[in-house]
Symmetry: none
DNA sequence: TATGAATGAGACTTCATTCAT
DNA sequence: GATGAATGAAGTCTCATTCAT
């Protein structure tokens, strides 16, 4: 009657805050391993044992830091959200002075590069995701969306605040979908897709962009009929 | 989907072609049930037994028609692809004479309505999906893409044939992503998302649209740059 | 993420009512095996796997009939309660006409014999019991107590109804304790214990026994000091 | 009122705490903690880690003093046996001059009070117990039994020495069972049970009690009758 | 052909105990 | 000595699939 005493642990955070260096490293190793395993077999099919094995740890150690499999998933999501934040801070923020088109392109390029290179990120992003993990899974996209709203506020002054959220969501999900799609095709073709995505977003945002004056009629609405 | 890895059966098609009517009905009942179960608990969490129970059959019978769980998934995907084909044939094809914008909108509306109404379709579309099922999952989107290429051929004469495939893919994945996103929000907000999606695609396709110099009224837009 | 989907099943009854003969037999085999295992290693230490093995079944079959280990325990308890009921019906009830002392003795003898012979009964009776099973464990003693109250009603007319319950409880727990104690000693000594137990209960009940007349002072109360 | 009170440091206590003493304190802390944990979750469900945590030590230290979990259990049993001995020495022995009924009652009262107040004692006493711990478990009852035999020797002169052991065992197990039973009912009802237990034992022992007219001086009580 | 009981690999998780620091 | 991270055997339970009836 051991395993059944489970109490549906909160699953929110690490079970034990790894203060010591060795522990912190081990947690990182576990997360790396989990990202790999998720990438290889998918999130549902990933087993805690496989993760522990790839992390070269015992299953017991894994459970010392994470109360259950879901917690590992959450931790990975959080880590990727953080990585993406950094990516934007270092790669996109510095060009804030350029045109908004350039900023869009830079954002996409940065994400494309990371997505291209990091299988774990691909796995997480692809996973919209089955049952258990559904709650957590758009954490990353929400993070993107928040960023995006801020950018819109700066560049799309013509856009009513209320609409900003919708536009941000549309942008983010579109980029996400395009990254996934491009990863499913060979690199050559994948790049064409990214290029098209950029074009699409440029055209989509054009009417919203702050354009001091001279837009014919310009609310961003299509002229009736 | 653990124990089934043992056999790795071909899984491609029904184990037995149901020539008899009763069999065909039973297969349909199983697929209906499976769609329901997938919708309720997700594809990985769906159990063959639950599917059989909802279909009011025995698992034994289920396995008479499908060699394994994956085959059921494939069959459902195929069935939805067929449904979508029919949907386009009946709802979109008839308005082939209207403007391409109207056709885009009609396509989206039709898909939105179906997606909105059919939980099984939502489940399948959302599932890009975990490991095992990955191979099958864009069958539906490929079907969309084929349709879309045909439409582009008719309307986007300005578009080099080579680029058509990319554009079609982009369109399809975008629509798909927007449907999923809109289903994740409350209906009110979901409709705003769909509206934005339409706007985005209109603007995206504008430059590709056949533009015999005398476009009836123009949109007031000047081609970019 | 399979095993964690557990929903704390009701655990009350068999998961599947075994209607067919083969199933019924199997359930019996499982219960027999469980009783044996419980007897050998104790209830907490008994493993479902050991039970299945001793029943010469697969663990899967075991779980087809019992949602969890606790349910097996409950089922055994219920079965023993039933057995004891039968024992009383066949062995004690027929001598209802004799003196109450003879009925007490017969009851104890019957229980002693069963307890002596059935290791599973010993295991259950001994188990007052650890944590999880506490709720269920005096099911048998409650059954005894109910019986006993009925007997008291017939024989101890002098006893206020309110007190009957207490007396019945005391009787039952005492008999139970004596059986357990006697089983812990060698048979020789064990019999002495049983004899003493009878003597004790005779003397205890004496004042309560309906004695038409001529009891020296008799309300059953100890003479005022 | 935990074990630490037991030390009653010798008058001229050294100011330098010898390491041995510190160890002893730590052992006591561990035992206190273990008793608490046993009481809270049961003996099988108690984990060494929980015990160490409650004792504010590390598991490492715990294993420095106890080779395994069973040893902790044994040590607690031994400690409770000692406590009971003290209880009798301080509470029952002083009234050795009174009637044997009063001594019985006092014994029961003392045990009832301790049992009522000390959850750890309840946990131990209830645990007759699962598998592993079975061997140790009647250490306490043996301690009772020894005491009881001595009392019988003094008061039940009519009782053949050979029978004394049996009677003592019967007494002890009965008292034990009654304590456990009373603890399982609400306090009100529990007290009725204890009262009945006293009555039962009085009547049971009556015939064994030495009843020579000339008991030394009597306590002013006149023997019944 | 249909049924559903039976199977058992394998998933997740716990916890007594060890051992490097 | 003290600490607590690490270990991994073992436990409970699930579920895809088979096969006797």
């Amino acid at each position: 009657m051991k395993a059944s005493d489970r109490e549906a642990a909160p699953a929110g955070a690490a079970r034990k805050v790894p203060t010591q260096d060795r522990s912190k490293q081990r947690v990182e190793r576990i997360l790396d391993a989990a990202a790999d395993v998720f990438a290889e077999v998918g999130i549902e099919a990933a087993t805690t044992e496989a993760i522990a094995a790839k992390a070269e740890t015992s299953i017991g150690s894994l459970y010392q830091f994470f109360p259950n499999k879901k917690a590992i998933f959450y931790a990975i999501v959080a880590r990727y959200a953080e990585r993406v934040r950094e990516l934007f801070d270092y790669e996109v923020a510095p060009i804030a002075g350029r045109t908004w088109q350039e900023q869009i392109d830079a954002s996409i390029d940065v994400l494309y590069a990371f997505h291209h290179v990091d299988a774990g990120f691909r796995a997480i992003l692809r996973n919209w995701s089955s049952g258990e993990f559904l709650e957590a899974d758009d954490a990353i996209n929400r993070e993107f969306a928040r960023r995006t709203e801020a950018l819109l506020e700066a560049h799309a002054k013509a856009l009513p605040a209320a609409k900003r959220r919708v536009v941000a969501e549309v942008l983010v999900e579109t980029v996400s979908a395009m990254l996934i799609l491009s990863a499913r095709r060979d690199p050559e073709h994948g790049k064409l897709i990214v290029a098209e995505a950029k074009a699409m977003l440029h055209r989509y945002l054009e009417p919203y962009s702050a354009r001091p004056r001279g837009r014919p009629k310009g609310t961003g609405k299509k002229p009736a009929k």
